[in-house]
């Protein structure tokens, strides 16, 4: 099989756009449709597209497995940590109003952090699952 230049060039152009769009979905989620879960999935889809065309090994150089696993765990940790922080600041668990002087700002920070946690976890989980499945597939070849 000769090399597929068209495919690789196209993917090189479109992957950054997908990643950028994931960030847009993440941070625009307060105003329009979208949020952490969708953004995480889209980000992971970008990495997966890269892996599909450039191969698993190169994708794992760009986005190492341990990073994906670390993300999967640390997102949940961030989410729970926001809850703990609001406990320590005198509120109830996951009550973001105490995170800042103004309850509105507190809610903003809280939602931002929580959505970030969701995105990090979902992205890490999706990429981890893809890596595992793709690696298994290679064994059966």
């Amino acid at each position: 099989m000769s090399d597929q230049v068209i495919l690789r060039v196209a993917v090189k152009i479109i992957v950054p756009m997908i990643l950028l769009y994931a960030l847009y979905v993440q941070f625009h989620g307060d105003f329009g449709p979208g949020g952490g879960f969708q953004a995480g999935v889209i980000f992971a889809a970008g990495i997966i597209l890269y892996g599909l065309v450039f191969g698993l090994r190169r994708a794992q150089k760009v986005f190492p497995t341990w990073v994906a696993r670390l993300m999967a765990a640390s997102g949940v940790l961030l989410y729970a940590g926001v809850g703990i922080a609001s406990l320590l600041l005198g509120g109830r668990y996951l009550d973001y109003s105490v995170l800042a002087h103004d309850p509105h700002h507190g809610q903003h920070y809280g939602i931002l952090l929580v959505e970030l946690g969701v995105m990090i976890t979902v992205c890490g989980v999706m990429i981890t699952i893809f890596y595992f499945f793709a690696a298994r597939g290679r064994e059966t070849l």
Binding site: P33, A45, I48, L52, G55, R58, A134
Partner: protein, 93 residues
């Protein structure tokens, strides 16, 4: 006028689906699914104008970006039988 466009898109979707159901080879089905994705992008865009809320365009944008991935995954699978390989010979083969 959006109504005409909507109906046309829905009819095109139906045709694409007939091809997906009939499709003698798997590649016909891939083609049908790819076309179905494009038609969904159009449907969402037109629906946004039809109902007077063009905010739905984010969704159309997402489909336009993501539709590509499924198609590529399927094709790669058929050409190489697995998803983890690089798409040329110099990679790992």
């Amino acid at each position: 006028m959006f109504i005409v466009a909507t109906i046309a898109v829905v009819v095109a979707m139906t045709f694409a689906m007939v091809r997906a159901l009939l499709g003698p080879t798997v590649y016909d089905r891939v083609l049908a699914v790819n076309m179905f994705g494009t038609k969904t992008v159009l449907l969402i865009a037109v629906l946004g104008f039809l109902t007077g809320r063009p905010d739905f365009l984010d969704l159309a944008l997402l489909y336009a970006l993501i539709n590509f991935i499924g198609t590529l995954a399927v094709l790669k699978f058929f050409e190489y039988g697995d998803l983890g390989r690089r798409v040329d010979s110099e990679g790992e083969a």
